[in-house]
Symmetry: C2
Subunit: 195 residues, 2 copies
């Protein structure tokens, strides 16, 4: 069954260990922030620091695992048709728009969308970790300078994950102009049992 | 007053807004993992994702700020005589030694030392964020591959921070062989009021 995340919104879903999650960019050039929690104990959650450490890479794609703050594998990346994701930058928040975009007006954000969709599971905003930013195109120079470019993903590109534990996933269709070339588009995803 | 963190241990200290913290590598080639919490509400804490986002750099040195998960400035780096620190990798933990060093024996770790020293303040292990790893020499290639090299810090090198809020700091003298060239040494620090 295909789920649709409307532009500038988010959705949470439970996976069983072994389930396959496919996150699809249906129109191209859109980012989806993904956070993960152990479905049986939400204090265990996705960790960028542990993942970069164990995978020994800033860039993560097919064959890499996403790890928890308790050093357990949460997801394996089975396929990645685009090949560029980010695990450095935090989900965009209202402060992102105030500080980086000089936009103090009310603006949807990934952090707000993650919070709204995770609150029913007892997770509050302070507990939301750095997200795995699917399709996000963050470039770095050899001196470490970071820049956010439009995603290289084209319509139909997807990343396929295999759950390594029972996991609560929350995904967004990103709300930040820099992340998606100034367009706001939906994200689709599918959950299938292991075959 | 100079504080001494013995090899493979840690210490916590409170700073008032404006206080100056100087973290010193007294013998050279040693790493100190640092985590920060809002002293008035420890749910607000250091965030690598927010810091890399707002500072637009993987490498942080003089002039950069360390930011919280609530998008507030926690520390300003006033001076950095060595110039190489890491904010990508998680504090070493017992799993670091089991998984990356193939060492299942009991081994001190930064995560255990942070936990022990933060427990009196109501902070548990799951709540410890990715640390700012002072003097840690993590190199990355243009394809994002990471490697941990011995620190370039020499005896007496230091990093000086100015607290941007009342902050609870925890520091370690790192326990991981790769981070310090296989040596285990102390870390010194000083806290001084703003002048």
């Amino acid at each position: 069954m295909k789920h649709i995340i409307n532009a500038q919104s988010g959705k949470a879903v439970h996976l069983k260990k072994g389930d396959i999650l496919t996150v699809i960019d249906p129109q191209g050039m859109q980012v989806s922030d993904m956070v993960l929690f152990n479905a049986r104990d939400v204090k265990e959650k996705l960790s960028s620091g542990k993942t970069l450490d164990f995978e020994a890479s800033i860039l993560l794609t097919t064959g890499n695992y996403l790890w928890s703050n308790r050093s357990n594998k949460m997801m394996k990346i089975l396929e990645d048709t685009n090949g560029r994701n980010d695990f450095l930058l935090a989900p965009c928040s209202k402060e992102t728009f105030e500080i980086m975009y000089n936009n103090p007006d009310d603006h949807p954000s990934c952090l707000a969308n993650l919070t709204t969709n995770l609150e029913p599971y007892g997770i509050v905003q302070d507990d939301i970790p750095t997200a795995f930013n699917i399709f996000m195109n963050v470039q770095f120079t050899n001196t470490g300078k970071l820049s956010v470019l439009p995603p290289t993903s084209q319509a139909g590109d997807y990343v396929k994950f295999e759950a390594q534990m029972d996991v609560l996933v929350c995904l967004t269709a990103c709300s930040a102009e820099d992340s998606n070339g100034g367009t706001f588009k939906p994200i689709h995803f599918k959950v299938e049992p292991q075959q």
